[in-house]
Amino acid sequence: MSEMSRMKFYCDEDRCIECFACSVACSEAHELPTGISRRKVITLNEGKESLEYSLSIACMHCTDAPCEQVCPVDCFYIREDGIVLHDKETCIGCGYCLYACPFGAPQFPRDGAFGAKGAMDKCTMCAGGPLETNSSHERHMYGQNRIAEGKVPLCAAVCSTNALLVGDSQRVSQVYRTRVLSRGHNHIATPKAWKSAYGS
């Protein structure tokens, strides 16, 4: 798989202002139940001077996706462009992927008796699932397939400060690099979450 064609997310924590546009747009676009958060905005050290930062986080579509490795029923598959997807009709809702995931991306429906888990749900990078592209069945099970329509995933499209970047890894890194260079002050070389997801 060429690095060129690999799709990645990156959230610039110097830009993210915890406005929730990404997570609300995601839930709205894919018509998710309120208990499911495919994309979350987290804030660390809230209110503490000079220490607070916010980050939008969802499935990072890891290079060596741990979820795929631990799944007992092999419901995950990784597309050629690096997007990590799964087959909800194969998933047994065991939750192994949740334990393996460094980002808490896998979501499980919480209703029903004893909070019984249903099939796992997670960010698809707006790329749908294994069903027929843009079919109503796919939309019902996995939400919109914007990638197939040549559109940017909605979370990044609505980001109010352009903090959340998505796309071809080289392009993402180029946008970020330009920003960091012109900022002209000390800055971490590798963004948070990048290393766990992509290994370098």
Partner: protein
């Protein structure tokens, strides 16, 4: 602002900040929450120019989290803080002397006042460490251009008018006005707030800031093609034509009449269209007044919770009105740019558009013909005439505005041009606003003033280095030609680029046009020309000025002394309910006020009634949350937005919470000096210090512990309801504008 240099609007624009600002002083604004997309531009300025972002706020906000410097100020001490900066700037000779001498009047008074505000005194009053004040003054003096950004944290105070004057004064002292990357960028909080302000949806002015004087009414009578006497006859008696109405802040006194009011009769009916009055200060008083009304009419897309917080059972009418997607026309952005919007769908179900509702009322009240007449008129050969039988909405409404509103230069805002700008978005640079191709030599949305049909718009106000016909101008000559024997016109050295007149000149009138422009008018022109540029429907004054590269409103000095105000030079005055009773005597508020907007207002008598800080020791700070705007009714009907803040809360420092035995998530009562209370959830947060709490104003549906859910019409109850912070905002109003004191008050915490 308008009293300083002519206009009270944002002087520059967001793209300009990205491109040119080297420092951004944000005070009394939390753009990261109130205008997230606007805030992106400040982050871009940081990224692209290494611009320094300085945030001054009582709370460590989301904007502060992105700042290079954060200064935690005590509420209601902004004037003192700016004087503290000015003290250091003057002391070191860092002021822009050339700018002050040539373009500013009255600076000596400011210099004198600033002398008192040593870093130590400023620090004691504001709570900001002296070193930080010195550091910031140094940074501002050495970093040009700096832009100053503010919003309602500055205006919504009993000293709001002084606050909005002291920041322009800072920019004048630093010489940052009329410059790219500088200016005073006041950010409007909602869509089209600038537009509704320009149209003066206010109690004290006609559209376009024309005031309520006889000359203004006569000008409008002419522009609307109706008889002045007919207009006058619509009033109870002629004198009411020139009296300010009740303000949005204190209209409820017109119903309750507890304080002395000055009106021909009490208010008996209220018609609310497009404003969330449940997020206004003194919500408990709003509720009492609603209960007492004979008639309440609400016209909005969502149920206005005014209908919910009242226990009134009859005579409430809720009219469904379409949203902006169901109508068409222009809106005005915070930077004075206009933008045309197309209709996406027809009004849904039985709803009507806003204007249809008003037209229907006008028909029933019997003045529809007069109401729409101007839309059938136009200027023909320098004179206004009826030119057609019927009007074409909304284009003719826009054209009427363009033809009539001279004061802020809307002459160029014809429907045709605004539509062209919308259709050619792609031909404008988002940073400079400059057009390409066929939109060349125009700025996007024709930021006003756009004096006439050929004017490109003015992206940066008061820029004398740009010719008038390309968007330049001096300060407005609005306050006479001289004061105390000193000329109010700009110095000889300040000529607007490309102008035929050297140095300052007065605003252009029928009487002075020949002398100032050195021209001769024909007899026909003399017959048609208006008395001055503001009321010249013929357009002759603008036409002649264009030829000479002259700005119709003159080229004058900005003034820092407003001789008609109670404080000609702004002064620090403690909030009405101050946590520092020891400072109340040193910096007292104003004397009580008689008849402003038809009602008396208590100042000193309220402030000095007792030491409020004894019984109400905690500072009360109100704030917005990002997922809710205004009264929040619209957003709280969205399950995903409600999910972010499912209930009303207050941010409380764990230290303060511990004093009251409150665990994170416990309920507490907050009591106000005017004996109101709300029950809210205590949420631990380090964004507030232990002397203050912060809470949002975007909830409604609960009043002083009482759940009003039963009052929602069936199927309209939002996902989240709660108490509004404004039920306990303290008494207090600005002495000029009467804007309520939302932002500096006190409260008492009690574990629930």
């Amino acid at each position: 602002m308008a009293n300083t240099w002519g206009y009270g609007a944002m002087t520059n624009h967001f793209g300009d900040v990205v491109e040119n600002s080297k420092a951004i002083l944000m005070i009394g604004a939390n753009s990261a929450v109130a205008n997230p997309i606007g805030f992106k531009h400040f982050l871009q300025a940081k990224d692209r120019n290494n611009a320094k972002l300085i945030v001054v706020d009582p709370v460590y906000t989301k904007s502060a989290a992105k700042a290079d410097h954060y200064l935690r100020i005590r509420t209601g001490t902004d004037v003192a803080f700016i004087y503290g900066l000015l003290h250091i700037i003057f002391k070191n000779g860092w002021e822009d002397k050339e700018f002050i001498d040539s373009r500013v009047y009255g600076m000596d008074g400011v210099r004198q006042e600033a002398e008192k505000w040593t870093p130590e005194e400023t620090s004691d009053v504001t709570g900001i460490p002296a070193e930080q004040i010195i550091q910031l003054a140094t940074l501002l003096a050495k970093t040009k251009p700096t832009t100053v950004v503010w919003a309602l944290g500055i205006t919504q105070h009993s000293t709001g008018t002084s606050n909005t004057r002291i920041l322009p004064i800072l920019q004048l002292v630093l010489g940052n006005m009329g410059k790219k990357g500088g200016g005073c960028n006041i950010i409007r909080g909602h869509d089209n707030v600038q537009g509704s302000t320009d149209m003066c949806c206010l109690a004290d002015s006609l559209p376009g800031y024309y005031g309520l004087g006889e000359a203004s009414w006569k000008y409008y009578a002419k522009a609307w093609g109706i008889d002045f006497n007919w207009l006058q006859g619509r009033f109870h008696s002629p004198k009411w034509m020139h009296e300010k109405g009740f303000s949005l802040a204190k209209w409820w006194q017109g119903v309750l009449q507890e304080e002395k009011t000055y009106s021909s009769s009490p208010i008996r009916a209220l018609w609310v269209q497009g404003t969330g009055i449940t997020s206004m200060a003194q919500t408990a008083k709003v509720q009492e007044a609603l209960d007492k009304l004979d008639l309440l009419v609400i016209a909005e897309p969502f149920v206005n919770e005014a209908a919910v917080i009242t226990s009134k059972k009859d005579d409430i009418y809720i009219l469904p009105v379409g949203t902006q997607f169901e109508t068409e026309g222009s809106v005005t952005a915070t930077n004075r740019s206009s933008q045309w919007r197309s209709k996406v769908v027809d009004p849904l179900y039985e709803s009507k558009t806003d204007h249809e509702v008003m037209f229907e009322f006008a028909k029933k009240f019997g003045f529809y013909d007069e109401y729409v007449k101007a839309m059938k008129m136009d200027i023909v050969d320098g004179e206004i005439k009826v030119v057609k039988k019927d009007y074409n909405w909304p284009d003719d409404a826009s054209n009427e505005i363009a033809r009539t509103v001279k004061t802020i230069g809307l002459g160029g805002w014809t429907a045709k041009r605004l539509r062209e700008h919308q259709e050619n978005w792609h031909l404008f640079d988002p940073i400079t606003l400059r057009g390409y191709g066929k939109m060349k030599n125009q700025y996007y949305g024709l930021p006003w003033p756009s004096w006439d049909n050929n004017h490109p718009g003015s992206p940066v106000l008061y820029d004398v280095d740009t010719p008038v016909n390309k968007g330049g101008m001096g300060f407005r000559n609005r306050f006479g030609l001289e004061h105390d024997g000193v000329s109010q016109l700009a110095d000889e050295s300040i000529s607007v680029k490309g102008s035929n007149i050297k140095g300052g000149y007065p605003e252009i009138t029928k009487d002075n046009i020949e002398e100032v422009l050195k021209i001769k008018l024909t007899e026909d022109e003399k017959k048609k020309i208006g008395a001055n540029w503001k009321v010249d429907l013929s357009g002759i004054i603008q036409e002649k000025c264009r030829e000479k590269g002259v700005c119709v409103y003159g080229n004058a000095k900005a003034r820092v002394k407003v001789w008609t105000f109670p404080d000609p030079i702004p002064k620090h005055r403690e909030p009405i309910h101050s946590p520092r009773h020891d400072l109340v005597m040193k910096y007292p508020t104003y004397e009580d006020q008689t008849n402003n907007f038809r009602v008396d207002v208590r100042f000193k008598s309220e402030q000095q009634q007792q030491d409020w800080s004894k019984d109400f020791p905690t500072m009360l700070v109100t704030m917005r949350v990002v997922n809710l705007s205004g009264a929040g009714m619209l957003e709280r009907t969205s399950k995903y937005l409600s999910h972010i803040t499912p209930e009303m809360f207050a941010h409380i420092n764990p230290e303060l919470a511990a004093q009251h035995g409150l665990r994170d998530g416990d309920m507490m009562w907050l009591h106000s000096p005017q004996n109101t209370k709300i029950k809210v959830k205590a949420i631990y947060s380090h964004s507030v210090t232990p002397d203050r709490i912060a809470l949002p104003y975007n909830f409604a549906g609960m009043m002083q512990g009482v759940d009003m859910s039963a009052n929602y019409p069936e199927g309209t109850k939002p996902y989240a309801i709660g108490e509004s912070s404004n039920t306990i905002t303290n008494y207090g109003f600005d002495i000029i504008t009467q804007i309520p004191e939302f932002n500096a008050g006190l409260c008492k915490i009690e574990r629930a």
